[in-house]
Amino acid sequence: MAVVDIKGQNNGLVFVFRPGTIDEYITELKKRFEANPSLFRGFSVTFRGEALKNLTSEELGALQRLCLDYGLTLALPPSSKNTRERDTEGSDIIVKRTLRSGQKIIHDGSVVILGDVHESAEVIASKDIIVLGRLEGVVHAGCFGDQSSIVLALRLMPRQVRIADKISRPPSDSPPNENPEMAYIEDGSIYVREYRVPLTSRKRASN
């Protein structure tokens, strides 16, 4: 039996590590990658398995680098030193706190944050990301390739917005918009527009 099992899941790959040595893992992965390079390219990969706990961080780093070398992206880095939340897959979560620098949320589903996302904080979700506060950090919506994902924030001023496989940076000279904004993909690129309350409810509000 192979020391690494490769499974597909939600547009991504899961590598399940069985007990073995780092050399066995590297040989096995190389063999699988070489056999069909184009099969792996572009997929995000998650590491799983009890055997991972026996690896040093250098060894894990080597495995991650190997994956990156063959064009894979890393969905869930195995170290869990930072604050990191992994909840039940596929469901949406509401995070009722502010994410500070260095904190990271990775979630399979949509993420709603009741608070700010500070600079150098990260939110990665397989669907939409909605921030009811200031968004200054890095966000990646639709991280497994869902192009219909959106990023919405009351103050959208991130370092970088990533949706599916697209990356966009706000122009450095644009003044911050005081209104809620939404980033989305259209014709293959990321656009940002002001998020307006639908007409009907606005009329009601003014009456």
Binding site: T83, T98, L99, R100, S101, G102, Q103, H118, S120
Partner: protein, 272 residues
Amino acid sequence: MMEPSNGGQVVVITSGKGGVGKTTTVTNVSMGLAQLGFKVVAMDLDIGLKKLDLIMGLENRVIYDIVQVIEGECTLRQALVKDRRFPNLFMLPAAQTRNKDDVTEEQIKNLCAELKKEFDFILIDCPAGIERGFRNSIAAADWAVVVTNPEVSAVRDADRIIGMLESAQFQDIKLVINRIRPEMVRGGDMLSIDDLLNHLCIDLIGIVPEDDGVVISTNTGEPIILNQRSLAGRAFYNIARRFAGEEVPFLDLNHTGSLWDRIRMFFSKQVG
């Protein structure tokens, strides 16, 4: 914050970034608390890069250090250095020839539990960074003070540290803004107190203006709090009073415009 849990309270003074004034804050606030009549220990956990002894002006009184206490070479009482100005103020020096891996969180907890029986406040001078030294420093603390400067690099590190303290289940985290220059804030060249509070979202416990006297006091080992005419000294004294649970109003630097300038000029003439 102020309720004493089985005796004294352990407070860690931390920042993430180096050079923002952790040791200066520990020195002056512990001295202020001693002035207010509390029994205080200032504990240096920057093992390998100690400076609390220097800034407190007690360098040549150090005989034993914290690692020797932990390793059983001396007793805790032998290692505590008594301040020459306040009989109820003590300092526990770090070892310069050792490093942060030589002590464990458990050992620091035991040490603090011992000190809590006898002292009202144990102030821990935390090393810069987020590694072993930081984890050791926060292990035994009841609450935390984060020191920052009004500049983006210090604020980002403070944000990171606050996040880590929150993850470590700290309920009570207070902010000291050090080295603020009101005239630069007014000119729009420095982050304002409001900017900082807006971003970091924690309670303020002190605002300390930039003061050349701090450099001088560091060199002479006479903490700035002993200088009654210094604004920074008064700010540190106010922090000590807030530690003790007093409600002390903040110096309102935003709206004191010309008055502030006049006070500054007055004092700079006086102090020279």
